[in-house]
């Protein structure tokens, strides 16, 4: 074999001669960059269509809406990384918003307790998912689908179809103030999201726990043999997903003032789409949360552009589907031998 000096083997195995090998990014990183580029292009296109779309306030509004999708997508990314999926997002989110509203009963004093209760509820829901999947071997699709149904029934039943005495309450004024407030000119919920992005990326990339999650997604059996706590990691990640869904519910409640039935429904498909647009591989083991976050921004920017075009609902739905398909064909493809 002749030695080839300039060939640089990337982890993905695509060997290629490159004079700028130093600046080379891996395929996974490239997908994150694509998602960020897509968001920027969408803002530019929006700005061309409607002057002011790319203005500071408008970008801020898009980012704020993207924040809800992004936080749900954090949990979704975690479970997709280990080869799972969380279909219980809609009603975990909805139950979270209603539980927060009903338990806080418009009072700021009861807010800490209500917060703990709601986040705890989300975590317990996720915990049950994780236990069913990791210990009892129920397929993730079935377990989380059933959990979504159970939560829907419990939420509707226990709140009497949102007619319970405290169901007419408003979000505590403090929560509303936080949701609408700004810190150093940037909305408070964006700060929260930035913090989540930093922490999630750090945990996934630089801790044993996070690397274990990638290992499980690539090969659960091999990682078990290599000493990864597969069961524990799986349960914790599902619990986190539940907690993130309920957190998004709390924030939506703070943002909108009141919870309603069905507010969680759009977030299932959007969270999966955001993760995939951001380069998270749906079969697990690859991807970064920062990509999913960029995916959430692209998705919301896309919807905003379509709305700026005054496109009717059906047109938005079709265009949305077509663009996601194009993105998938662009970089969601599997290698032909896989």
């Amino acid at each position: 074999m002749t030695p080839v000096a300039a060939v640089d083997q990337t982890p993905d195995g695509d060997a290629r001669q490159s004079p700028v090998a130093r600046f080379r990014v891996t395929q996974d990183q490239r997908r994150v960059l694509y998602a960020i580029a897509a968001a920027i292009v969408l803002f530019a296109v929006g700005g061309l269509i409607r002057p002011g779309f790319a203005s500071m306030e408008s970008v801020e509004a898009v980012l704020t809406v993207a924040c809800f999708v992004g936080i749900v997508a954090a949990g979704q990314t975690f479970v997709i990384l280990i080869g799972g999926i969380d279909l219980s997002v809609p009603w975990t989110l909805n139950a979270g918003a209603i539980l927060m509203m009903a338990s806080a009963a418009s009072s700021n004093g009861r807010m800490p307790l209500a917060l703990a209760l709601t986040l705890g509820m989300g975590a317990v829901v996720g915990l049950c998912n994780g236990v069913g999947i990791a210990i009892f071997g129920v397929p993730a699709v079935v377990m989380t689908l059933a959990m979504n149904g159970m939560l829907e029934g419990l939420t509707l039943g226990l709140s009497g179809g949102l007619t319970c005495p405290t169901c007419a309450a408003y979000a505590p004024s403090l929560l509303q103030a936080v949701a609408h407030g700004t810190i150093v000119g940037i909305p408070a919920i964006l700060w929260l999201w930035i913090a989540i992005i930093l922490i999630a990326s750090f945990v996934l990339s630089f801790t044993t726990f996070g690397r274990g999650a990638y290992a499980i997604g690539n090969n659960a059996r091999a990682s078990l043999l290599a000493g990864v706590h597969v069961t524990r990691t799986t349960i914790v990640l599902y619990a986190l997903s539940g907690a993130f869904s309920s957190l998004a519910g709390i924030m939506l409640l703070g943002f909108g003032g009141q919870a309603s039935l069905g507010i969680g429904d759009p977030y299932l498909f959007q969270s999966i789409a955001a993760a995939v647009i951001g380069g998270v591989y749906i079969a697990g083991g690859r991807g970064h949360y920062i990509g999913a976050a960029a995916g959430a921004v692209s998705l919301v920017a896309l919807v905003s552009v379509l709305m700026a075009l005054n496109m009717p609902e059906y047109g938005r739905s079709i265009t949305y589907g077509v663009i996601i398909l194009l993105l998938l064909l662009l970089y969601g493809r599997e290698s032909s031998e896989g």
């Binding site: 699709v141 939560l151 789409a273 589907g321 998938l328 599997e334």
Partner: protein, 329 residues
């Protein structure tokens, strides 16, 4: 008969049972849910359910039966079709808008509706087989497209279905629709022996091995999604017949409900095991659960709680008993 022959026959029986344990359990589930339903009905009404109850249950379950069969065919190839709800929306809307009163018009229009379903499935299949994108993602995106098209066709609930069409597919007086289930079973028993039918199971079990045994993986996969689309279109026709009008959003729930029917029917979500007939049984099981909850006077608000709980318990039980049977066999 010699002891050896008896032993062999018994082992073949238990082997067959172990191989089809999902389907056998689905049947057990169906029988026990019917028994429970009759008991609860008797307690509430002081008589056994009669022809009217059977007819309404059958008519209301037909769309789910066909949606479940479509989903099962795709799931057997280790895929999943989330766009089924969208195809039902679209075909239901088209049927309600264009079905005419005369027989030729009904036939032509129904065939066109089936073609639309096939086209939707073909679109999915081409993207999945040639585009090499994961089925769950492709069908998630096409779901949005088909739903959008459905709303474009029928912006608000309406349209009209001729009474003759309703009499044929959702007869109020007798459970005529059971004929279609018999036809379906007949179709499947012929189809699963064709090379295409065998290919579905082959690529669901091991795609590379199937390829090595000269199964055309790409064509088989596309065919699975086309069949899924056609069956979803049939579900849309049945829904139009029983509702006597169209609504471009009622199909949405069928994506998840078809998966529930498939799982209750003992079809393995990881492909290669189970049959669409199981999904038919699963569809009736989920219909019986709704009936039981209704006559047990459980607050309808709690309905999805019990459905979800039942799904988990059923899957756990199936898994546990299946492992036990296979360990014995």
């Amino acid at each position: 008969m010699s002891d050896a022959a008896v032993a062999m026959r018994r082992s073949r029986w238990s082997h067959g049972l172990a191989q089809n344990v999902g389907f056998a359990l689905a049947l057990v589930l169906l029988v026990s849910s019917i028994v429970v339903y009759c008991a609860i009905y008797f307690i509430a009404q002081r008589r056994l359910p009669g022809g009217f109850e059977v007819t309404t249950t059958v008519n209301n379950t037909m769309p789910l039966v066909f949606a479940g069969v479509g989903q099962a065919i795709v799931v057997i190839t280790r895929g999943i079709d989330l766009s089924i709800g969208g195809v039902i929306d679209l075909t239901n809307a088209i049927a309600a808008l264009y079905l005419g009163d005369s027989l030729p018009s009904m036939v032509v229009c129904s065939l066109c509706v089936l073609l639309v379903g096939a086209a939707c499935g073909l679109f999915n299949g081409l993207l999945i087989a040639y585009g090499r994108v994961q089925p769950i993602l492709v069908t998630l995106a096409t779901l949005a497209i088909f739903q959008g098209l459905a709303i474009r066709v029928l912006p608000s609930p309406g349209g009209q279905v001729p009474p003759e069409f309703t009499a044929m597919f959702a007869n109020m007086n007798a459970p005529v629709s059971l004929i279609y289930i018999l036809l379906l079973i007949g179709f499947w028993f012929c189809f699963r022996r064709t090379s295409l039918g065998v290919g579905l199971y082959a690529i669901g079990n091991d795609e590379q091995a199937a390829q090595a045994h000269a199964v055309n993986v790409i064509r088989t996969r596309i065919a699975a999604y086309v069949l899924g689309g056609v069956f979803a279109a049939i579900a849309g026709l049945f829904m139009a017949a029983s509702a006597t009008a169209g609504d471009a959003t009622t199909g949405n729930g069928y994506t998840l409900r078809s998966i529930v029917a498939v799982v209750l029917g003992g079809v393995n979500l990881f492909g290669g095991r189970g049959s669409p007939i199981g999904a038919v049984v699963g569809a009736f099981v989920s219909a019986m659960i709704v009936n039981i909850l209704f006559f047990a006077q459980i607050d309808p608000l709690y309905q999805s709680f019990f459905e979800g709980l039942f799904l988990v318990v059923a899957v756990l039980a199936t898994g546990g008993i299946g492992r036990f049977m296979r360990a014995r066999a």
